[in-house]
């Protein structure tokens, strides 16, 4: 078996198998495929963009830093586009391509002016021409006397940026900043690339600083990189921590390397098999899976410990005999654990499905190793000492329940009060943003950049549809009119919708006719041009050009071909039944005002954050039910096998552990979301494990007439339970130190649950009086 896994492993793990992208963790959208597609297209740009700003006391210095930075970024080969100077040629080309359609492509403001007060347009032109800036504003007066196209061209860029040497320059109170835009080569962010990116950010920051400047960097890839970087550190902390804990514990207990090596064999084969199978099934595994997987060490170790600890229970200990005794316990333990992981498989999150499969396979193989190999490998193993921890554990398992029972008058109400109080304070928080806890510094930089350069698109957007191009155009225009009002009310800073830049054939004709009626037929144009001092020839030439352009129109595909990437990305295309586009938003200050626009014809509001958060909330409820179902299932299984009364005793341990764990979250104001519930599934598995072994020990007492043996079994069981609880606490407790909020919550929940299970499990099968064979 291991051989097969080994061979598979050689094939599988040579590929690129580690996934670090944050989005891979999230469930595939539950929505219609078109929204999923829109989200994907919307995110695609964001997921590759990295934004760099070099700052200095003067714009000249800032540009100098930016130019040096650009060279370094080019050398890194990480990016497929690095833009410092704005692509002038491309824009010039766009200007040329669209200029012939200047009478058809009017921006909305010009349209409005023309339909209401056509003379205002001419007055505005005069203002422009007489201003000291005329050179810049009206340089194409000769070919475009009404400055129609300059209006259209300017309206395409809702946010005005200042250029210097072709470079975007921003400035705040005391610094000038030069902007550099980069696109990562790969949308699918690979770990080594992200590491290179982080290293690059670090080294360039130092270099710019030594040169006297300042560097700010932001972008989705950076957040992902930081996330996987800290996750990686956490894996090694958790891994090393729990390994060290286990080594110390086992060496102290057994004074022999054999149990230690065997434990590692069980854990190792479990982890390896888990890795191989997961990669086989999912193609790649996510780094978060590995973080959770590292904690598996604690659970997998349970089986090995129960086996090895049993050696303290008999004077003449034989591993094969021992297996016969502990096998039912091990099997039930495995089944409950697998059952609790099976719950995760039904979660909608690919990440958690991975965790479930990874853990289930890991446990199964660790278990198989224990059951199949340990009897052989433990031959001749017999510790002849009584380790301190055995004495302590035994003393504790004998006296702790006694104390508990003696003081139950006040302990019980106190526990009930604690649980009730904690549950009362427990408030679920499902905000998806809590998933990604970026370092404060990164967030601060991102915030500062957003203030300087408010061009970054929001996560939210509108999806506009229509059953044909005209219908779509009409629907989007209706939406954009509302958005315009919102920008005037400062509820939104800017928006981008294609229909403001490209109008359908029909509207293009209308624009032409509007111009014809208001300025050309009416003679206003002629008057305007004459008064300005244009020659007769120039006037006639303009009239002729206008006439010649009468039947011109530009189709959407041609228009899109001239547009830049951010505009092209707004278009989702037409199929036989409908046409779709995105309307992107910048600087939202009133979310509810925007989301209320979804009632408009053909408009859908897409708020990924909100949608995921509500998804989390729904699944939190679903998993709660799942958890209850799992308890009922386990309870029924036990009831059928051991009788209902015993089943109740056993199941009460994980139930109390779960309740206390929930209460702790409430008292300590911990993040309570879907993920804590998954942790509670683990608490169920481990709590049942603890209870079942104490129950088995009790059973063996019952069936065994030699009392001393039963006592020894209880002693060795309490040792195994204690050791396994300690190792599990080490492994999961360490997760609680994680800076990733959900990992921390997971660790905290499990730690609280395990500790409670450890504290309560000796009550199972405890005899109040050794002479009296009554259990509690």
């Amino acid at each position: 078996m291991m051989l097969i896994i080994g061979v598979l492993g050689r094939q599988v793990l040579t590929k690129d198998w580690l996934e670090t992208g944050f989005l891979a963790l999230l469930p595939a959208s539950e929505q219609q495929p078109e929204i999923a597609k829109a989200i994907q297209q919307h995110n695609e740009l964001l997921n590759r963009k990295v934004l760099w700003l070099t700052g200095a006391a003067s714009s000249k210095e800032a540009i100098g830093h930016a130019r040096r930075l650009k060279q370094q970024l080019e050398q890194s080969k990480l990016f497929n586009s690095i833009v410092l100077e704005m692509p002038q040629q491309k824009m010039a080309k766009q200007y040329q391509q669209l200029f012939p359609y200047r009478y058809q492509l009017l921006d909305t403001q010009t349209q409005l002016t023309l339909s209401n007060y056509p003379k205002d347009l001419l007055a505005q032109n005069l203002e422009t021409l007489y201003s000291p800036m005329a050179q810049m504003m009206a340089a194409d007066l000769e070919h475009d006397p009404l400055l129609l196209f300059s209006r259209y061209f300017n309206a395409q860029n809702p946010i005005k940026l200042t250029l210097e040497q072709g470079i975007v320059i921003l400035h705040d109170a005391d610094k000038y900043w030069a902007l550099l835009l980069t696109d990562l080569e790969d949308t699918h962010l690979q770990l080594d690339k992200l590491e290179t990116l982080l290293a690059l950010v670090k080294s360039t920051t130092t270099q710019v600083q030594t040169a006297g400047g300042e560097l700010m960097v932001t972008g989705m890839p950076l957040f992902t990189a930081q996330g996987s970087d800290s996750a990686k550190q956490e894996i090694s902390t958790v891994g090393i921590g729990s390994s060290a804990g286990i080594i110390i514990l086992l060496m102290l207990t057994f004074r022999s390397v054999r149990p230690l090596l065997l434990s590692f064999l069980a854990i190792g084969s479990g982890l390896f098999a888990a890795l191989v199978v997961s990669v086989l099934v999912f193609g790649k595994i996510h780094i978060i899976t590995l973080v959770f997987g590292a904690s598996l060490i604690g659970v997998a170790d349970d089986y090995a410990l129960h086996f090895v600890c049993d050696s303290f229970a008999a004077k003449n200990w034989q591993p094969r005999q021992s297996l016969r005794y502990i096998f039912p316990g091990l099997l039930i333990g495995l089944l409950t654990n697998l059952l609790s992981y099976a719950g995760l498989v039904f979660s909608p999150f690919p990440g958690l499905q991975e965790v479930a499969l990874f853990s289930a396979i890991g446990l199964l193989f660790a278990w198989l190793t224990v059951v199949l190999l340990f009897p052989l490998l433990l031959t001749g193993f017999k510790p002849d000492h009584k380790p301190v921890i055995l004495k302590v554990a035994n003393y504790w398992q004998q006296h702790w329940p006694v104390w508990l029972l003696k003081n139950r008058r006040w302990v019980c109400p106190l526990v009930v009060l604690f649980i009730a109080g904690g549950l009362w304070q427990l408030t679920p928080r499902d905000d998806v943003r809590l998933l990604q806890s970026a370092p404060a510094e990164l967030l601060k930089t991102a915030d500062k950049i957003k203030q300087l350069l408010p061009v970054s698109q929001e996560n939210q957007f509108f999806l506009v549809s229509g059953h044909n191009l005209d219908d779509w155009h009409q629907n989007e225009q209706q939406l954009l009119e509302h958005l315009k009002v919102l920008t005037q009310q400062h509820k939104l800073m800017a928006y981008q919708g294609l229909s403001d830049y490209w109008t359908d054939q029909h509207s293009q004709q209308q624009n032409y006719q509007l111009l014809d009626k208001t300025l050309y037929q009416s003679g206003l144009l002629k008057q305007y041009m004459t008064e300005l001092g244009f020659s007769k020839k120039a006037i006639n030439s303009e009239l002729k050009q206008f006439n010649d352009a009468k039947n011109k129109s530009i189709a959407l595909p041609e228009w899109l071909a001239t547009a830049d990437e951010s505009k092209q990305n707004l278009w989702l295309g037409c199929d036989s039944t409908h046409c779709l586009s995105l309307v992107s938003l910048i600087g939202i200050t009133d979310l509810s005002a925007l989301s209320s626009l979804q009632n408009l014809q053909g408009v859908a509001w897409v708020d990924q954050v909100e949608q995921l958060s509500s998804l989390f909330a729904r699944y939190r409820i679903r998993v709660s039910l799942l958890l209850i179902a799992a308890y009922l299932l386990v309870f029924t299984g036990f009831g059928l096998k051991f009788g209902w009364r015993n089943a109740l005793t056993i199941i009460s341990i994980p139930i109390i552990a779960t309740l206390v764990s929930l209460a702790m979250m409430g008292w300590f104001d911990q993040l309570f979301s879907l993920f804590n519930l998954f942790a509670l599934l683990l608490v169920l598995g481990i709590g049942v494990d603890d209870a079942i072994f104490f129950f088995m020990a009790y059973n063996s007492e019952q069936s065994n007439t030699i009392d001393a043996d039963g006592e020894a079994k209880r002693a060795s069981t309490s040792l195994a339970v204690t050791l396994s609880a300690l190792t599990t606490l080490l492994a999961f407790g360490l997760l609680a130190v994680s800076s990733t909020e959900i990992v921390h919550a997971f660790g905290f929940t499990v730690a609280a649950g395990i500790f409670t299970a450890l504290a309560c499990s000796p009550l199972v099968g405890h005899r109040v009086n050794p002479q009296d064979n009554r259990k509690v």
Partner: protein
């Protein structure tokens, strides 16, 4: 996503692209600078005459201007149409709202009006004559791209800047004369309000 202010954008781009070379201060420049009245505020009236090649008559306009060293420039055209232009290093507001600032305009226009000759040396090679009654300076852009648009800027003055003449490569010519120049101590409330709009 990046905006430009201009219809003919290529031209505008050329204007924006001002590369600042090393600073160069002439003796003439130093002596002229010494003659100029230096106060944080200058105001006065202007007469502007634009001769565009395609138009058969000049565009004449008059109005008032206010220069403030730290706040920027108010350029108020009164005839033939009234309009207001506000500009500093980072903002440009016209009747049509906030515009992108071409640095060749934002900083140079202000430096010209305020006689900040040292700042002008960054972008232009300057030659000049310092005579008893008046001085004259010729500014030639250093940047190759800007050279394709502006051939020369000529400044004439005494203790004040009296005339500015901008000769474009395509033959267009802009002449601005300044009269009734004064240096008040503080801004009027109207000027205050205008500058307030510029840097809220």
């Amino acid at each position: 996503m990046i905006a430009t202010t201009t219809p003919t954008f290529l031209r505008a781009l050329l204007l924006f692209v001002l590369s600042f070379g090393q600073s160069y201060a002439d003796d003439v420049l130093a002596s002229i600078a010494a003659r100029l009245v230096k106060t944080p505020m200058t105001q006065g009236q202007f007469q502007q005459e634009k001769r565009l090649k395609i138009l058969r008559k000049p565009l004449l306009s008059t109005g008032t201007f206010t220069y403030h060293q730290s706040k920027g420039v108010i350029w108020k055209t009164l005839t033939p149409v009234s309009s207001l232009l506000l500009v500093n290093d980072s903002h440009l507001i016209t009747a049509q709202g906030e515009q992108a600032v071409p640095p060749a305009f934002g900083s140079v226009f202000k430096a010209l009006l305020g006689g900040e000759l040292n700042r002008l040396t960054e972008g232009f090679s300057i030659t000049g004559k310092d005579q008893k009654t008046a001085w004259q300076l010729q500014l030639i852009p250093k940047d190759a791209l800007l050279k394709k648009v502006i051939s020369t800027i000529q400044l004439t003055g005494d203790t004040e800047l009296r005339q500015l003449e901008l000769q474009e490569v395509n033959g267009n010519l802009t002449q601005i004369s300044f009269t009734q120049i004064s240096h008040p101590d503080h801004l009027s409330s109207e000027q205050q309000a205008d500058f307030e709009r510029l840097s809220p």
